[in-house]
């Protein structure tokens, strides 16, 4: 093993040596510098591997031939070697990244960089307080110089502000160190810790000054204005170093010095960290400048880490895992993001749309963003899971709430940013060059991120229980993204079929999982068929489609809470990307993501609550939770965001409507069922009694009823075909919710039947309408009309779809209605039932509007040559129609197993449905799908023949051959009665459709924004104000602590 002191020697020596070089030797000098950093990196990594795998505690390095406390000593332990490796690797990549900047600014600037790395290394290793001070100053001064690397007015101002802030902070630190020496008589950390001297008050103040100075180096909110200016003004390569590098060193410093204090700093650290995390992220949401935004995010993340340090006693053995996983995510992601920022050179986050010109950087950008927010499979996901679970064990609910709130706020602006990158208008005029040497560092960090994810997964408590095959499949698809779309599509379909076949035996006995698994997998394959009509490569579609399905199937397979939540997040992520692919879906995808994220966090908290006092994470443990009310409510609300219950539904219409033609059926017909599945599972596991006690079921029932009414009512007033269907989904999910809330046998049977039905008809409708939209290239129904002649098959599909939707006999939808009546009557929820049935009749309005406005009425000139929907859209439709027909004629195929399954569960021992051949009967009524279909079919055919006989000679006429009060129609557009079709209905009941909910959320949104907008005014840009902030911060913390 090489003595780590050589790192210092080599780096510093190289730095001194480089002072000799002139312009001529630039390349050689750079190579030398790179070698030096590489040397440092290799040594530190080597040490890390050695110490991590071995049993050795670490290496004490003495200088000057005498022992501490008399001389300065360094220590190289596992932690030190880890953080040093991180910093040196970062430094190496940062050095490569800054190659061009160094060439412009001369070799001197690279000297600063070398010294910076060296300083950070010593900061981590040194055990002498004054030595730490000296090297902290070195780091600060080196940074102060590097800030000006970009040159210009802003950089100069930022550098000056940085210097004065650092000046004040270091003054405090030095006073602290001086008096520490006075009272403690030593400058060595270990010496002081071993000496057991009784702490006097003076030493507390001295240590306070030291710690607060280190803390201020970590830029706590709100005493961090200087840092933000630096982030904004500095070269992104330098910002990356500040955010990932010096922050790492400083936080380790804090961690190292913390034991000195006899006071209990931890609660204060928690508060400081949490305030920083939430506050900084809050201000981030109104930030438009990308580097400053990254600065806010960076500060927020560091706040989170500080809070985690503060919470360490509650985390016990898991502290290291949690801290490192959060740290590594921040470290990799933030550096990567800053680097990408430097590549594209765009300061406004809206202009990040240029990223789309380079798929690789877009991919990396997404990866880093997701890593920051804590999506699986990135380390921070595991870290947050463990953190929240451990906090819940200690009943630290406030901290859970604060941390998740902060993460959520961070999600707001990061996803908005991601949305801009994906969807904002890209000004093609402005050229951009993706320089290769700048791409290397983020690429390396992306690879490291994936590697870190893999290792985190293995190291985490429950990660090894995950089924990673789908994840590997997704990764493979990322790699194979260069293939043409149809190849990938076939691959995905084949993969899904094979996986289903493999999966089948494991869920064959479990009807519930079989039903939902069937919906997910069959639906998945069917909707993917539509993808064959896409030409080209369809980049970035298949990995995420598979991700969504992998998540869905993961829900089915989940055996413990972690797997469930993992799958849930994977699913959310995949569907988010699928949704955002739509043309105008930027805003809607963001809404979707935020509601999903919020919902996921609620589920998360619910899981955490249920885990209190439990040893294992089995799903079964939900039944023995000690806080059933809260657990139930939180998890249920989480699922309700996915099922878009009213109040939480505003994301749905836009997201479903603006998605691509074949994505809409995926997210509407299939994805929504995930929430239903979750709710069913929740009830089954927790037992309804728990919920019943708190009247929660009653509330849920009302919620379902109002959702049904509200969703359908909104659908009536839509002009956008897909939006109409989307609102209809809201309404339909309301039915399901309502039926679920019964928690009776027949109620659940209704819910499950309806789920299957909804899958069938809504997928069918979205596919059919998607095919139409694909052809006519508009969503507005009033612009279509008369398409029945061009697209008869789509018309038939829609017709069958709406008959099923409306519950008109003889098709399968009627079964749902019939069960509903039985359920309502047996449960006694008549008034809610009234809402539901009112909603049912309202459904006719939009069903008619949909089919009439699109297929009937007046054909438009411009759609005269429109062709039938692509055959790949029609094939799944035909299969779905066959499905509907089968379930219509033989409802027992579905209902019998469901009934049996429900009877086997503990809740509903008796099956109220009696079967006599194919006739179902309850105490109340009876229903024979097969016979009804037969009767109606025969009758229909007879009557049709009768009419055919009577009017066999009918003359075919054209669209304007209509009776028009002796006049002729003007043109098709004005003759098609479609726009605002139900204006009279709006006059009568429109007051119910006033978007109160959107108003509420918008209000909340604007309150948050204005709050952030006002709060950030404290960052006046005046360096002196920042100094005052720092002073006040010190004083306030001091007053709180003493």
């Amino acid at each position: 093993m090489v003595n780590p002191i050589y790192i210092i020697a080599v780096l510093l020596g190289t730095a001194f040596l480089l002072g000799l070089f002139r312009k001529k030797g630039f390349e050689f000098g750079m190579a030398l510098g790179m070698l030096a950093i590489a040397f440092a990196a290799v040594i530190s990594v080597h040490w890390f591997i050695h110490l991590y795998s071995g049993t050795e505690g670490g290496l004490n390095i003495y200088t000057a031939g005498s022992k501490p406390p008399f001389s300065i000593n360094l220590f190289m332990g596992v932690e030190e070697s880890f953080f040093m490796s991180a910093i040196n690797i970062l430094g190496l990549l940062g050095f490569i990244y800054l190659f061009r900047a160094f060439r412009e600014q001369g070799l001197k600037s690279s000297v600063l960089f070398l010294v910076l790395i060296m300083g950070m290394n010593v900061l981590i290793m040194s055990r002498d307080i004054f030595n730490l001070f000296v090297f902290l100053e070195i780091v600060s001064i080196a940074l102060a110089g590097l800030i000006y690397l970009k040159r210009g007015k802003e950089s100069a101002a930022a550098g000056f502000k940085y210097l004065i802030a650092i000046g004040v902070i270091s003054a405090m630190l030095l006073i602290g160190i001086s008096f520490f020496y006075l009272f403690a008589g030593t400058l060595n950390i270990d010496d002081y810790l071993q000496s057991n001297t009784l702490p006097v008050k003076g030493i507390s103040v001295a240590i306070f000054l030291m710690l607060i100075a280190i803390l201020l180096e970590l830029k706590p909110f709100p005493a961090n204005g200087w840092a933000l200016d630096v982030y904004e003004a500095a070269h992104p390569g330098i910002s990356a170093m500040i955010s990932s590098g010096t922050a790492t060193a400083s936080i380790f410093l804090l961690y190292k010095l913390l034991p000195l204090s006899s006071l209990d700093w931890l609660p204060y650290l928690t508060v400081i960290g949490a305030v920083t995390f939430v506050g900084s992220n809050l201000l981030g949401i109104v930030q438009k400048n990308s580097n400053r935004l990254l600065g806010y995010s960076s500060i927020g993340q560091i706040g989170l880490m500080i809070a985690i340090i503060g919470l360490a006693p509650r985390l016990g053995d898991h502290f290291n895992f949690i801290f490192v996983s959060i740290f590594i995510s921040h470290f990799l992601a933030k550096a990567g993001l800053f680097w990408i920022s430097g590549i594209i050179m765009r300061s406004n986050i809206r202009e990040w749309s240029v990223l789309r010109r380079n798929r690789l950087s877009l991919f990396m950008f997404g990866l880093f963003i997701l890593m920051l927010i804590g999506f699986p499979p990135f380390p921070s996901f595991y870290g947050k899971w463990q953190l929240v679970m451990d906090l819940a064990q200690h009943k630290s609910f406030v901290w859970i709430a604060v941390i998740l709130a902060g993460s959520f706020i961070e999600g707001i602006y990061l996803f908005r940013w991601f949305g801009y990158a994906m969807k904002e208008q890209d000004d093609e005029e402005k050229k951009i060059i993706f320089q290769w040497e700048k791409l290397i560092p983020p690429i390396v960090f992306s690879v490291l991120a994936l590697g870190a994810s893999y290792y985190t997964n293995n190291l985490s408590l429950l990660g090894p229980t995950l089924n990673l095959i789908p994840i590997y499949f997704i990764l493979a698809l990322f790699v194979l993204d260069f293939l043409p779309a149809f190849v990938k599509n076939s691959l995905v379909i084949a993969g899904m079929i094979i996986y289903s076949v493999l999966l089948y035996p494991s869920i064959a006995d479990d009807t519930l999982r079989l039903i939902f698994g069937g919906i997910f997998m069959v639906g998945g394959v069917l909707t993917l068929f539509a993808g064959y009509s896409e030409k080209g490569k369809r980049e970035g579609f298949f990995p995420f489609a598979v991700m969504m399905y992998a998540g869905l199937i993961g829900l089915i397979q989940a055996e413990n809470l972690f797997q469930f939540f993992f799958s849930w997040e994977i699913m959310t992520l995949g569907s988010y990307i699928l949704i955002i692919r739509g043309k105008k879906s930027m805003k809607h995808a963001l809404n979707y993501m935020l509601f999903s994220l919020g919902g996921a966090y609620l589920i998360f908290i619910g899981f955490a609550l249920s885990h209190i006092g439990q040893v294992t994470f089995d799903l079964q443990t939900l039944s023995s939770t000690i806080l059933p009310g809260w657990t139930y409510t939180l998890i249920a609300i989480g699922f309700l965001t996915k099922t878009a219950a009213i109040g939480l539904h505003i994301w749905l219409p836009g997201a479903h409507a603006e998605a691509e033609s074949d994505v809409s059926p995926m997210v509407s017909g299939i994805l929504l069922k995930a929430g239903v599945f979750g709710l069913v599972l929740l009830f089954l596991l927790m037992g309804a009694e728990q919920a019943e006690q708190k009247n929660l079921l009653y509330i849920l029932g009302w919620l379902g009823a109002i959702t049904a009414l509200g969703g359908n009512l909104m659908a009536v007033f839509q002009e956008d075909a897909k939006r109409l269907l989307a609102y209809s989904s809201v309404g339909n999910l309301g039915y399901i919710l309502f039926a679920l809330a019964f928690v009776t046998h027949v109620g659940w049977m209704t819910a499950l039947t309806y789920s299957v039905n909804h899958f069938l008809f809504k997928t069918l409708l979205f596919l059919a309408i998607g095919g139409v939209v694909m052809r006519v290239k508009t969503h507005n129904m009033y612009e279509m009309g008369g398409l029945i002649k061009q697209m008869p098959l789509s018309f038939i599909a829609v017709l069958i779809g709406i008959i099923t939707l409306a519950g008109i006999p003889p098709l399968a939808g009627y079964g749902g209605k019939w069960l509903f009546y039985n359920a309502v009557l047996s449960k006694g929820w008549y008034f809610q039932g009234m809402f539901i049935f009112f909603a049912g009749t309202i459904a006719f309005l939009y069903c008619f509007k949909l089919i009439y406005s699109v297929f009937l009425g007046q054909p438009k000139d411009k759609f005269r040559q429109v062709k039938e929907a692509p055959v790949w859209y029609l094939i799944p439709q035909i299969i779905l129609i066959i499905g509907i027909m089968v379930f219509s004629a033989r409802p027992d195929l579905l209902l019998k197993p469901v009934g049996t399954m429900l009877s086997q569960s503990n809740y509903f021992p008796t099956d109220p449905l009696n079967w006599e051949n194919v006739t179902a009967s309850t105490d109340l009524g009876y229903w024979s799908g097969y016979k009804i279909m037969l009767v109606i079919g025969v009758m229909f055919i007879i009557l049709l023949s009768w009419l055919l006989l009577m009017s066999r000679k009918a003359q075919k006429i054209k669209q304007f051959n209509i009776v028009y009060a002796g006049e002729r129609p003007f043109k098709p557009e004005t003759t098609h009665f479609s726009h605002n079709m139900f204006s009279h209905f709006y006059k009568a009941l429109g007051f119910l459709s006033i978007p109160v909910v959107s108003a509420f959320w918008n209000g909340l949104n604007s309150v948050t924004h204005s709050m952030a907008e006002n709060t950030r005014k404290i960052y006046s840009g005046n360096g002196q104000t920042y100094i005052v902030h720092i002073m006040l911060y010190i004083i306030i913390i001091y007053m709180l602590m003493f």
Partner: protein
Amino acid sequence: MKIFELENISMAAGFLLLMVGIWGIISQRNIIKMIISFSIVDTSIHLLLVSIGYIRNRTAPIIGEGVTKTDAATQITDPVPQALVLTAIVIGVGITALLLTYSLKLYRHNRSLEINHFNSLKW
């Protein structure tokens, strides 16, 4: 009286200077005056350090006249703060030089030395 001893006076003077410096930093808008205030703060800390190391009736920690090798422990003041102050001075010099250079740069850009004129970056 405790406060009239040399070390107490020098330390009180150090603190006083510190306050003066801080006052200057947060109240003076002129950058040069701020830098001067920083220097005052630096100086005050040096004074504090030296006061910390001072032991009454003792001499400088140099073996030679008046200080014998064997009894040095009872004859000299604390050498450590003196070593520290040396370092601190150098660091202070470095920072002051940097501040001045930056102020020069700022003046070139803005033709102004008022700190509140450099707020183009904010919020």
